[in-house]
């Protein structure tokens, strides 16, 4: 583990600071960090913008954050809306809300409750997604991939009438895959479960395959 200097950044209200190495960084209100930031603990309540990359052991974001570089946090919890221009790496990533990443996302565990838009690949050992809106990623890969459709809340149903609430990916690959409301070109895995409302062009599986009657699978084959 890194050694962090004792210095802290504390922003209450509207302020900005340069980046660097810190112990705790707390932003309550509106804060801008003008360069790369490394810290042990990052906490944002409100709005913050990092004009560089963020590296932190523990990070929690409640509110809106924009990170213009890459982000790394061993433990990351997001309640709100986060946009990352680079890639996101970490051990344990938990998202409640909206996450947008322009690069890849790599973690040991990725849990999402809400919406995510990933322009690259999502790669994690355990992936648990509860979709409450249109989620998308280029590729979703890992060992255990579970995609659920958000519970039948009124808002989800209402929005669902106007927009696509599917999880969309080109490729989904893993050992244990369980999907709901998912659109994909290819799904490959050992044990695959295709749940309700899935639209899959091609499924390749090794062990077993279950397909829900309301799912549309064009082609499937056992390898």
């Amino acid at each position: 583990m890194n050694d962090y200097p004792r210095g802290d950044i504390q922003i209450n209200g509207i302020a900005s600071s340069n980046g660097g190495n810190f112990h705790h960084v707390t932003i309550d209100g509106m804060g801008t960090i003008h360069s790369d930031l490394t810290c042990m603990e990052f906490s944002c309540n409100g709005t913050c913008k990092v004009e560089g990359s963020l590296r932190s052991d523990r990070a929690s974001i409640n509110g809106i954050a924009k990170i213009q570089g890459a982000a790394h946090a061993d433990q990351l919890r997001i309640d709100g809306k986060v946009t990352i221009q680079g890639k996101l790496t970490g051990e344990d990533i938990q998202v409640n809300g909206h996450l947008k990443i322009h690069g890849n996302c790599e973690a040991e565990r990725f849990e999402s409750n809400g919406i995510f838009v990933l322009q690259g690949m999502l790669n994690a050992d355990i992936i648990e997604i509860t979709a409450h809106g249109g989620c998308s990623a280029q590729e979703i890969v890992g060992e255990q991939i579970t995609i659920r459709h958000g519970s039948s809340q009124f808002m989800t149903k209402l929005l669902g009438a106007f927009m696509n609430t599917h999880v969309t990916a080109t490729t989904i690959e893993g050992d244990y895959i369980s999907l709901e409301h998912t659109t994909a070109s290819v799904v490959r895995g050992d044990r695959v479960q295709i749940g309700p409302e899935c639209i899959i062009d091609r499924v390749e599986y090794k062990g077993e395959l279950h397909i829900h009657p309301s799912a549309k699978v064009k082609y499937h084959s056992q390898i």
């Binding site: 790669n123 890992g142 255990q144 080109t170 893993g174 070109s185 290819v186 895995g189 050992d190 062009d201």
Partner: protein, 208 residues
Amino acid sequence: MEDNLISKKDLLELTGISYGQLYRWKRKDLIPEDWFIRKATFTGQETFFPKEKILDRIDKILNLKDNASLDDLADLFSPNLTEMALYSADLKQRNIVSDVAWQLLTSQFGEAEVLTYERLIALYVLNQMLQTGEMSLDEGRILLQVLNDHYKKFDGKSCDLIFIRKMGVATFLLISGNSEVYLEDHAKLVQRIDLSHSIEALKTQLSE
């Protein structure tokens, strides 16, 4: 190039590893990103790998993973210049490089008690090339100079060393890994060395 690729499906079947393992190793940088070659096939998008490299790498990981942590393995495979330095005396004792190569280095850059990692790699590659018998000592001097001047610029990215001879005149090139090179008819490509491969071999020898 085409023939030397293996699809991900075949790879998993051949080596008996799972998707989870493969992607975990990728996350830990045990398998470099640029080995993942994506291609569109009639069954949708498929990922291919350079066959020999990936089989060799997976074999190594499977053999070593019981004794070393994944992070240690990542250090072993990474082409990064680590903060490692070695005592010259230590190096001679371990018999990693020949005396001839050693003398060439000291005559070019002077005696040093401690070797930096970059020097170490230059020395190792020099030794490798000298042992093949295809390079003369004078050409070795050029090699050292090239590695000394330019290797740092690759900043840990994979790169190849190319040794060309035309009408008895030798020259060296450093190019980024896996790029294609074409020569005119009269020039002869004497050798092409993947430097990350040499670094891996060197690290294995040092860790023994």
